[in-house]
């Protein structure tokens, strides 16, 4: 129907018809241009500059591999890459382990939609405080005279305050888990809430145990949520530097921290190299995650 109608009009008023047939491309144009100029061009520039020659305070567009060699030859920088990967995987696993039970409760055990929404909103409310202040709020929690040490001492669980809580890798992990775990809970709870209850009932009628139901039905159906959550957490943790510098006393240097320091000392080419490496890590991580489930089909 649509095709013939368009065809008839095309013969009568060709110009308006051209606009009408292609009007969605005009709707797309502003967004596409914006993304090309302010997203693709900057990223391409970063890749390009990573091959430029770095002198003390300037960069010149003479192509070289020097900055790349410096990165892989230096133990500090290569160590930062390993540390970033380790911290990312740790945070990813912990957010999943901590977040899944909460999502399971909200998505499967709370049957009332309003209660579900209230619980999810309660998880999201902390996001309306500035990210940096949320990070800083961990300092009085974790310090030697911090809330956790005070509570544990009052309860008689420990006799000496734990020093390892603040300005270590552990404090960075605790801070990141608390900040990013919600991105894991939200998508998983969403997928769990969509599971058709009759499916579970049918399995139960056929004599499946609760564990089997979880393993064979609930978990596989929640997997797209896990993948979306994992992508969110990965993107945010891999690009992190503020949490690391605030909670580790600048002792834990992630790739993001090195970019910030290098830009601060005008080492643009070197910062660009680290940027490209970070992009590659991210692309690999997202590709692997997307292999697990086909998101466009599942959502």
């Amino acid at each position: 129907m649509d095709v013939t109608a368009g065809g008839v009009e095309a013969q009568q008023v060709p110009r308006q018809s051209f606009l009408r047939r292609n009007h969605h491309y005009f709707l797309l144009l502003p967004g596409a241009l914006w993304m090309v100029f302010f997203l693709i061009v900057p990223l391409a520039m970063m890749v390009y500059v990573s091959f430029w020659t770095q002198t003390t305070f300037a960069i010149t567009p003479d192509l070289t591999l020097r900055s790349w060699q410096t990165f892989f030859a230096s133990e500090t920088y290569f160590g930062a890459l390993i540390r970033t990967l380790r911290l990312w995987l740790t945070v990813l696993v912990i957010t999943f382990l901590i977040g899944y039970p909460t999502a399971l409760f909200i998505g499967q055990f709370v049957k009332n939609k309003t209660t579900q929404t209230i619980l999810l909103v309660a998880c999201v409310i902390p996001f309306w405080t500035s990210f940096l202040i949320r990070v800083l709020a961990w300092r009085p929690m974790l310090g030697r005279e911090g809330a956790i040490n005070i509570v544990l001492q009052d309860l008689g669980i420990i006799s000496q305050p734990i020093d390892a809580l603040l300005f270590t890798e552990l404090s960075v992990i605790i801070g990141m888990v608390q900040i990013y775990v919600v991105f894991m809970v939200g998508p998983i709870a969403f997928m769990l809430a969509r599971i058709d209850g009759s499916l579970i009932e049918a399995a139960r009628d056929l004599g499946a145990s609760s564990l089997t139901i979880f393993r064979k039905i609930i978990f596989p159906l929640s997997l797209p949520g896990v993948v979306v959550g994992a992508i969110f957490v990965s993107v945010m943790v891999l690009g992190e530097f503020a949490t690391a510098s605030a909670l580790s006393g600048r002792k834990v240097n992630l790739l993001g921290n090195i970019i910030v320091t290098q830009v601060g000392s005008l080492k643009w080419a070197f910062a660009a190299v680290i940027g490209v490496i970070l992009t590659v890590v991210m692309a690999v991580a997202i590709t692997v995650l997307l292999r697990i489930v086909n998101l466009r089909r599942e959502l």
């Binding site: 969605h24 491309y25 709707l27 797309l28 502003p30 967004g31 914006w34 993304m35 090309v36 100029f37 302010f38 997203l39 693709i40 061009v41 900057p42 990223l43 391409a44 520039m45 970063m46 500059v49 039970p101 909460t102 399971l104 409760f105 909200i106 499967q108 055990f109 309660a122 998880c123 902390p126 996001f127 309306w128 405080t129 500035s130 990210f131 940096l132 202040i133 800083l136 709020a137 300092r139 009085p140 005279e145 911090g146 809330a147 005070i150 608390q178 139960r204 609760s210 979880f214 993107v235 503020a242 993001g256 970019i259 643009w268 910062a271 660009a272 940027g275 970070l278 992009t279 991210m282």
Partner: protein, 285 residues
């Protein structure tokens, strides 16, 4: 699964502990914001309860060794930036989602191009933009280089929200209006827009809050006039005082006010939509 009362109970307890974990730093921050000043530090024990740090943030406290937070102008800049980002990204997101209501060639590429904007870590985008600006001889400013990056970040969110809204939208209503001879512009104003308005509000809320708090994208591109998050980041390097906590409490309250306004607008639009649904025909003629 719901026939397991013990599991249900233990998961409920776990969920409560989880929420406590999310809120614990805020509770501590709230308590410490009432620390005595100016000699009290950002740690326990509370020397004496006082509202000194609140007065300090708002500029009422007498000058002391603790420098006041440089927030006045930064706050105005951040709000302006967030507002501009909100408007531009909501318009772009709505336009793009409107185009996606039809199947067209290259829709996959366009989809990933837009979604890439929320996937690329801010620090990389900031770095890339700073390099482009450097080579092009543009000096970085919060209303220029930083603004365009904020939109790159928030536009995908607006797009996805609007895409979800349009997916549930029944095109027959619009077609009915066209069939009755209502011009497209009027149809959009009187039929389409009221129906997608809740989505537009959500997209605006997303864009505003994300931009207001955006930090890694602004760090390299914001120039010398700092926005709010940059001002807070500046205090990282030096000693922390409880005035930051007082400020955190105040901004949280401000966010709640914003959220309440959003909630009220949302309820109002839903109610209006319901009462109007019956009278829609008189309205468009």
């Amino acid at each position: 699964m719901h026939q397991l009362p013990i599991l249900r109970f233990s998961l409920a307890v776990y969920c409560a502990l989880f929420i406590l974990f999310l809120y614990a730093p805020f509770i501590v921050m709230g308590i410490l914001s009432f620390q005595a000043g100016p000699e009290g530090g950002p740690q326990f024990p509370i020397i004496e309860w006082s509202t000194y740090w609140y007065q300090h943030v708002l500029g009422f406290a007498p000058p002391s060794r603790v420098a006041p937070l440089p927030i006045g102008e930064a706050l105005v800049r951040s709000l302006t930036l967030a507002f501009a980002t909100m408007v531009v990204s909501t318009v772009l997101g709505t336009l793009t989602a409107q185009a996606f209501r039809r199947k067209f060639k290259g829709s996959n590429i366009m989809f990933y191009l837009v979604v890439l904007g929320m996937m690329v870590p801010g620090v990389l985008l900031g770095l890339g933009m700073a390099l482009v600006a450097r080579e092009a001889g543009i000096s970085p400013t919060w209303w220029g280089t930083a603004f365009v990056l904020h939109v790159v970040y928030t536009y995908p969110f607006a797009f996805l929200v609007m895409l979800a809204i349009f997916n549930r939208f029944d095109p027959a209503v619009e077609e009915a209006a066209w069939a009755l001879g209502v011009p497209p512009g009027r149809t959009f104003r009187k039929v389409t827009f009221p129906m997608i308005f809740p989505g537009v509000l959500s997209a605006m809320l997303f864009a505003f809050t994300l931009s207001y708090d955006e930090f890694p994208r602004t760090l390299f591109t914001g120039g010398s006039d700092v926005t709010m998050p940059l001002a807070i980041y500046g205090t990282f390097a030096v000693e922390i005082h409880p005035n930051l906590f007082a400020f955190g409490v105040l901004t949280t309250l401000f966010s709640f006010a914003l959220l309440t306004v959003y909630g009220l607008l949302m309820t109002a639009s839903v109610r209006k939509g319901r009462s109007k649904a019956s009278g829609i025909q008189e309205d468009i003629t």
